[in-house]
Structure formats: C-alpha cells, structure tokens
C-alpha cells in the first residue's frame, strides 16, 4: 500500500491546561480533498497549523510529504501552500508585488502572471492590499498558496466571513483545483462546504475526530433519513414522538424536536394526529434532506453552529 501524503496519528496539543487536540488521527491520500468539519474551537486550526510546521505538537506523530514538520520544516515549506486564517498582508503592498515577492521565496513555482489571470485579479494587479474587497483578498490568498506549485494545499476556513455570493466564487476555485487532482486539506464549519467540496470529511469536536468518511458514507451513518424539525407550543416527551408511526428517532435540542424518518409523509401525518389528540399545536415545521449536521447531532447531541 502506498503511504499517504499526509499522516496524522494520535495528535495531541495543549495550551496551558486546555487540551485543544486530543488524539486526532487521519490520513490524506494524494489527489484528495479532505475536510475537517467542526464548530469553532474544535481544534481544526491547531491541527492544520501543526501540519504546516507553525506549531509543535505535544504528542503523536505527523508526516507531510514524508517529512516531519517539526524537524524538517525548512524542506517542508517548499512542498506546501497555505491560506491561513487570521492573517493579512501589508496595507501598501500591491497585488502583483505580493505574488512576485512570495514567488521569489521558492525554488520552483508558477508564473505570478498566470495566477493573476486564473484568480481573476488581473484588473487589480496594481491595487494596494488594503483596497481589496474581502473576496478579492481571499482570492489573492488562494493564489499565493499556489505560487510554489505545492504538493499539498492547506486552506483554513477559506470562506469564513464572506458573503454567500463570494463564497460560491471560492467554491468554484476549489472545485477547479479538485478537478486538477490537487491534494487539499481544508477546515470549515459550513456543512454545505464540506459536502460539496470534499472527497472525505472528518467531523471534529472538542479535539477529537468523531466520524470520518465520504459525505455519502457519513450521511448513511445517520440512517440516510429525512430530518423533520418541529417546534411545539407545549413540551412533549421524546419517547412518545419516537413511537409514532414512520418516525425512526426523535430527540430534543434546545427546545426544538428533531425527528428522523425514512417515510416523511407518514411521519408527518402521525405527528399531527398525535398532537391533536394531546391538545398540542405545531409552531413550525421544517423538512431537510439528511446532511452532515445530522451526523454531528447524532454523535454529540448538539448542533454544529451554536
């Protein structure tokens, strides 16, 4: 079996008394887009920054392109490209200057001119960094991650803080990289992002991987069932809802009842009948197809976005 381009084994990282990463393990194969999905503070960024050689782990073993990020960081940095979270460039640096400067750090690379065109920044080539919009800054960040034609790309929350339209632009870029069979490790707390862009996803919570697989596999994990979310005017017991015809599972999360069902019409009919009999009323009802959020709820009993 060929060795994976990224290997993480039992990774541990502590900040003082807080254990940010508590035994994370996963492998990423060449040409794969791998997503770490989880809420803020789950330890995703810490994990990625250890792989980039920016932080030292407290335990476990990691390998990137066959290199140890801690001991061989100089060699490693030629092989990786990164778009970091909470970073910036000098205000008075122009777009083209930034690309040229960063290209000069590497032995091999792509032509800045080519990247400018590809990321739609040609018209902005002489614009100061401070005058770019959020989306343009992010496109520049992704372009800069590619200047050395890296073997592995790290995108940490590539669409955080961007509005939906700009977010779709970034999706298009990442999808194109995926078609080119680039190896990408990305973090996100957006479910749709992980579902749409990633070949495999590790769901991370409180420093641990709680589920790992392709989006399809993960959804099957939650029974592949439709989710019915209802709010009621009076509290109801989970047990009663669970026993309704057509309902596979029911649980209460922050005052909302989440039912899972393989036969949604049947479940709704029996729910309404039950409520009428109890003198209870529906305040709202929402139906959604199974998503990775269900997996998260299934395992943690919490929502991904609190």
């Amino acid at each position: 079996m060929p060795t994976s381009i990224l290997q993480v084994e039992n990774l541990v990282k502590r900040y003082g008394d807080v254990e940010a990463v508590r035994g994370v393990s996963f492998n990423v194969e060449e040409g794969e887009v791998f997503g770490l999905l989880g809420p803020n503070g789950a330890g995703k960024t810490t994990t990625v920054e250890i792989l980039e050689g920016l932080r030292d782990p407290d335990g476990g073993r990691v390998s990137v392109c066959g290199l140890d990020p801690q001991r061989e960081s100089a060699a490693l940095k030629h092989e990786i490209g990164a778009a970091l979270q909470s970073t910036s460039l000098p205000d008075k640096l122009r777009v083209m200057e930034a690309l040229r400067l960063f290209a000069s750090f590497y032995k091999r690379g792509r032509k800045p001119e080519e990247l400018l065109k590809r990321f739609g920044l040609e018209e902005k080539r002489n614009t100061f960094y401070s005058q770019l919009s959020g989306g343009q800054k992010q496109r520049l960040a992704l372009a800069m991650a590619l200047v050395n034609d890296p073997r592995v790309l790290f995108f940490d929350e590539p669409t955080a803080g961007l509005d939906p339209q700009v977010r779709r632009e970034i999706y298009d870029i990442i999808e194109e990289l995926r078609r080119e069979r680039k190896t990408i490790l990305m973090t996100t707390h957006y479910i749709e992002e992980a579902e749409r862009l990633c070949d495999r996803v590790a769901i991370v919570d409180q420093g641990k991987v709680i589920a790992l697989g392709t989006p399809r596999e993960l959804k099957a994990y939650s029974g592949g069932s439709t989710r019915i979310e209802v709010r009621l005017s009076k509290p109801e017991s989970n047990g009663a809802l669970k026993n309704l015809e057509g309902v596979a599972d029911a649980r209460e999360i922050d005052g909302t009842y989440v039912l899972h069902s393989k036969r949604p019409p049947q479940a709704i009919v029996s729910l309404v009948k039950h409520l009428e009999a109890e003198g209870n009323e529906l305040v709202s009802l929402e139906i959604s197809s199974p998503s990775l959020e269900d997996v998260f709820i299934e395992v943690t009993g919490r929502r991904l976005r609190d």
Partner: protein, 293 residues
C-alpha cells in the same frame, strides 16, 4: 538567500509609501541639518563641520526606530504568520529590516554631505572611509537595538513607549542634541554609558580623522542580532520567553563595561571638550582677514 534581496526591496518600497517613515527619515533629519548648520553654526564652515557629527549621528540612530517597529506591526496584524509558512526564516526577516534601513538612510546622509560641501563650503570630511564604515555599522547596530526592543514588547504601543524611554536619553545626553562638553559634568559622565555618545564622538572624529569605535559597534550588532533572532516571534499571541528581558539587557553590557572604563581611564570627555572649545579659536582667527576685505 537570494530572496533576501526581494524581501529587502519590498521592505524599502513599503517604507517609502509610509508618510510617517518618510517624514522621520528624510524631512526631520534635513530639518535638523539646517537648524544646526544654518542657525547654531551660523553657516561657518568650521562649525558646520563640527555639527555634521551630531547631525549624521541623528540619521544613523534613527534606524533605531526604523523598520523594527514595522515588524511588531507585522506580527500584530498576522502578516508575519503568512511569511512563517514560507521558507523565509527569522534571520531573513531581521536582516531585511536592517538592510532596508541602511539603504533608506543613505540618500539623506549623502544629501547632507552634499549640502555641507557645496552650500556651506565645508572644506573636507576627513577620513571618508571611516565615515562610511561608521555610518554602515552604526545604522545596522542601532537598527539591531531596535529589533531587540521589538522582540521584548508585545504591542506597537509598548514598543513606542520603550523606544521613547531609550531614545530620549540617547539623543539628549550623548552630545547628539547639545554638545557633550556643554552638558553638566555629572551628565557627561553618564553619557559615557550610552552607545550614542560613542557614535557622535566617533563621527566627529571621523570627520577629522579615523576612530575605532566601529569595532565596538560590530560587537553590539552581532550580540543584538543574535538576541533578536533568538527572541523572534511570528505569532501575535506567542509569549515572550521568561528570560527574554535578561537577554535584552545583555546587549547593554558592552556599554556598561566601556562606560565604566571610560569614566575611570578614558579621554573621550577631554577630546569632546577640546573639540568643542576649539570651535571658538579658528572662528576668531578668521575674524581679522574678513574685516580687512
């Protein structure tokens, strides 16, 4: 190391686009020059030549502020982190600060020398080679001291405060602003502990003859560069190592030793006094011929 050049060039470009930096590295020193040469020296070539020492010292010492503070800002804004995922090392970042600072100092100093020669008719600059060595080593040393401050402070604000605390004695008690011989006796002795004093006296001597203070500055430079590269932090939230402040104080050690030695055995104060008082004599001997004309 080939990218040290591109990094340095970018730092220079960025500094030139910063109005504050331009003011403090070009406008302010030139203002000082005209103040000293035109008003204090009244345009007398002999006196202008004497005051060139402090004026150039001001330029050289200005690198203490220079680009080291920019590094703190880079760290605060998360810019350094972006460089950290590239092959750029801490040494590269520090060296580019010093090199860019040095290059940015040259035009102003050249302009001052040009003006001194052709507007104020200063006949000779003495040992030009010594002058070049002192300016180079001086700029880089004071720049390194700035880097040490940058590495023991967390925020831009802290850096500014600490810089001021060091800067004010450097310029007022060293002979850079007021001639050393003009200051009260006790302050003259205190001045012997300041690197600035040696730079000013050395520059004044270099304008007449050579002076080996650059050897001392090279040591400080090496020490300060080593300390700042050891303490370099890429991340805004990274903590200062506990022993950092001791490390930083180590850079003051050479001057503590030198100051003690100079205070007991040295003749720098005597030299400074002689140079200062000699200003009156040639000026008065110039008087009669002028009257005759």
């Amino acid at each position: 190391m080939s990218y040290l050049a591109t990094l340095t060039r970018t730092r220079i470009q960025l500094a030139m686009r910063n109005k504050m930096f331009f003011f403090f590295s070009a406008v302010f020193p030139l203002g000082m020059f005209f103040l000293y040469a035109g008003i204090f020296a009244k345009g007398d070539p002999q006196k202008v030549s004497y005051f060139l020492g402090p004026v150039i010292a001001f330029n050289v010492m200005g690198s203490f502020w220079g680009l080291s503070a920019a590094l703190v800002m880079f760290r605060e804004q998360g810019i350094l982190r972006r460089f950290h995922v590239t092959p750029v090392t801490a040494t590269d970042m520090l060296a580019s600060s010093l090199l860019a600072n040095f290059v940015l100092t040259l035009p102003t100093i050249s302009l001052e020398l040009f003006l001194a020669r052709f507007v104020f008719h200063v006949p000779s600059f003495g040992n030009l080679f010594s002058l070049a060595v002192l300016v180079t080593v001086g700029t880089v040393s004071f720049g390194s001291l700035g880097l040490v401050v940058a590495s023991v402070t967390n925020t831009m604000q802290e850096t500014q405060v600490l810089n001021q605390l060091i800067w004010l004695p450097l310029i007022f008690l060293s002979g850079a602003t007021f001639p050393l011989a003009y200051l009260p006796n006790s302050i003259q002795h205190f001045g012997l502990f300041l690197p600035a004093t040696y730079l000013v006296t050395a520059l004044q001597s270099a304008l007449y003859e050579s002076f080996p203070v650059w050897k001392l500055l090279v040591q400080v430079l090496a020490l300060a560069f080593f300390v700042s590269s050891q303490l370099f932090r890429w991340e805004p939230e990274a903590k200062i190592p506990r022993n950092a402040k001791l490390w930083a104080l180590a850079t003051a050690l050479p001057f503590l030793l030198l100051g003690t030695w100079e205070n007991t055995n040295g003749d720098i104060l005597k030299q400074a006094q002689t140079a200062f008082h000699s200003l009156d004599r040639p000026a008065s001997s110039d008087q009669p011929p002028r009257n005759n004309q």
